[in-house]
Structure formats: C-alpha cells, structure tokens
C-alpha cells in the first residue's frame, strides 16, 4: 500500500523519473552490446534485427520510447522547477503552454505522415 505522504503528483513524477532512469540505465549496456555486433559479428546482428521485428519486440520498443519520453520531460520539469525562480502559477502556465504546443506539433506531424 502506498503511504499517504506519497500519494500526490510531484512524488509520482519523482518516482516515474527514477524508475525510467533505472530502466534506461539497464537498457543502455544491452543496446551498446548489440550495436557492437556490427563490428564483431555482423551475421549475429542481422539475426538479432530479424528477431526484433516480432510484434512483441515492437511493443517493447514503444515502452522504451515511453521511458525515454518520461525521462526527458521529467528532467526538463525538474530543471524548470529548480532553476527558474518563477512562481508556481507561472510554472503551471508555462507547462500548459508547452504541453499545448507539443500536442499541436505532434498532431501536425501525424497528419503530415498520414498525408504522405
């Protein structure tokens, strides 16, 4: 059971940032090992890339992108929180403006990709 003092957004943001950071730290050595196969064993790399086309690995890649995204934006959030001497209201407005901009930009990107 989650203790009451941890049931709020900023604690959850900390937890997601920490969790995504640990998961990425575990992923990166494996990532570099696979990349190194290009030099040491190209045939094994081709085999791995073929294996990686399975739907379940594709789904896992989505999870990886999610982790990257969470960690990236969590880091930006933390830097804004700690490095900008703004009032909480100013920071909320800035976060809303950034989220709105991201939404519009992503919508434009997806619409363009569909048209192409």
């Amino acid at each position: 059971m989650i203790p009451p003092h941890r049931r709020h957004g900023l604690w959850l943001a900390f937890f997601l940032h920490r969790l995504s950071g640990i998961a990425l730290a575990l992923f990166l050595p494996a990532h570099f090992l696979v990349l190194a196969l290009a030099l040491t064993d190209p045939a094994a790399l081709d085999g791995f890339l073929h294996w990686a086309h399975q739907p379940v690995v594709r789904a896992a890649e989505m999870g990886l992108v999610f982790l990257l995204s969470v960690h990236l934006f969590g880091g930006l959030r933390l830097m804004a929180l700690e490095w900008l001497p703004w009032s909480p209201r100013q920071k909320t407005l800035a976060a809303l403006a950034t989220a709105g901009s991201m939404f519009v930009a992503l919508w434009f990107l997806l619409a363009s990709a569909q048209a192409a």
């Binding site: 203790p3 009451p4 003092h5 709020h8 604690w11 900390f14 700690e82 001497p85 909480p88």
Partner: protein
C-alpha cells in the same frame, strides 16, 4: 481547564487508535472517545490522557497553531494536531494517532526533537549580525525583492511536520531537511546578515540542499503553507552560482 470536548453535547463516539510504546517497541491501543462538534485531534488525545491513560506521553503548549509542539502522525500523515479537525483527518471513521516519523521516540506520541534542531545549527540557521548594537537600525524596505523572499520563508513554527513528511530525511538521516534549509534560505536573503559564506558552504555539503529530490512533501504538508521546496530550490541556484564563481 476544559479538555476541548463538551461531554454533555456528545451523542456519538470516535474510534481512535493511539500508538503506545518506546524505542524498544509498542503497539496500537484502541479507545472510544466522545465525538463533538469542532473537535481537534489534540482534543481527542487530551481526552484520552485525562479520562483513560494518565501516563500517555504527548507534547503540546499553545493549542492555537503558534508554538509548533503538538505535531503527530494522524492516519499516516504528519499534522499539527491542535488545528486539525477530526472530521478532516478521520478515514472511514477511524483516527490512528502515532508519533512523527524520522525522529527518535521518547515515549508514546512524544518524539525527541534534538536531531531536528541540530540540523538548524548545522545549516547555519543562526543569524550573524553585520553590525553591533550601537549602529542605527537597518532600513530594509519590506518591498525589496530580497526581503520579500525572506518574508515568504520566515513564518516557520518549527513543528517538524515537513521533516517527518520528507522521504529524503528517511533515506539519508544526516540530511539537513526542509525546515533547516528553509531557515537558511530566509537568512541568505536577509540583508542584515553577514554569515552567508559559511552558511552556503554548509548547505552545499554532503548533507545539504542538493540531496533534495523535489518530491515537495514538505510543501504539501507545511501547516503554515510555506514552500520549503521552493526555498531549497533557491539554495540550489545560489550555491551553484557561488560554486561557479569559486566562492564555496
């Protein structure tokens, strides 16, 4: 002296569990306490001490949210009990009242506050005068930016609610904690103070402000609605600038 409960008006009872014991161990004890309108958690504890458990150890003084001595854990959350109404704190009709987290226990609901106040000293929480008593009174505009920042952090009542709420204090017991760092931030912005060189060195150390993970439990629970999380962020910025200038 009234114990805060009008027994004649009481029509119902509260289900109250109080933690009793010391550092060696203890257990939750159950009590039925008469319910009343506008009843605070401190009223409930006082009723139990006066009517059921004369040797129940707890701490209070002013009963009006000024002295900061009555903080306890209420249903797992740190609270100033004299200003916490039972109806706001009860969960499913039950009140579980225990000692604050992150502090050594004296007995029952009374914690040893010494480590908490030691952190204030370690963080440079003592005012260092820049002039003596013969000098004129310093003219500080209440509207000056530095004074506004100092004023925003100054109303701390030393209740240790933020210290008990902080997970970093739990994980790293020598961490200075939100209250001491908030006090240091107030003094960093006090134009009359001359102790910033040592103070910034203290708060930038291994146990200092850079341990904070910005979970902001302190800000969430501060009963005086201060923002120790913002104070700690201010110290992070100031110590980083000082480090870049080679002043630490």
């Amino acid at each position: 002296m009234s114990d805060g409960i009008d027994n004649a008006a009481a029509t119902d009872t509260l289900d109250v569990r109080v933690w009793r014991g010391d550092e060696r161990g203890g257990d939750w004890h159950a009590y039925r306490v008469p319910a009343a309108a506008n009843q605070t958690v401190l009223d409930v504890v006082t009723w139990i001490q006066r009517h059921r458990e004369p040797n129940l150890a707890y701490r209070f003084a002013c009963r009006v949210g000024v002295c900061g001595s009555c903080a306890m854990s209420v249903n797992g959350e740190p609270r100033w009990t004299c200003r916490t109404h039972v109806q706001d704190a009860a969960r499913d009709g039950v009140l579980r009242i225990g000692p604050l987290r992150n502090l050594p226990l004296v007995r029952d609901l009374a914690c040893d506050m010494a480590p908490f106040f030691d952190r204030w000293q370690e963080a440079g929480g003592r005012f260092v005068p820049s002039s003596d008593r013969h000098a004129d009174i310093a003219a500080i505009s209440p509207e000056s930016p530095a004074r506004r920042i100092a004023d925003a952090a100054i109303q701390c009542i030393n209740c240790a609610v933020c210290y008990a709420a902080c997970d970093v204090v739990q994980w790293k017991p020598d961490y200075l904690g939100p209250a001491a760092l908030n006090r240091a931030w107030s003094l960093v912005n006090d134009e009359r103070d001359a102790g910033n060189k040592d103070r910034l060195r203290a708060v930038a150390g291994d146990a200092g402000c850079h341990n904070c993970h910005s979970q902001h439990n302190c800000t969430r629970y501060c009963p005086n609605q201060l923002d120790p999380g913002a104070s700690i962020a201010g110290l992070k910025r100031t110590t980083m600038k000082a480090a870049l200038k080679g002043q630490l």
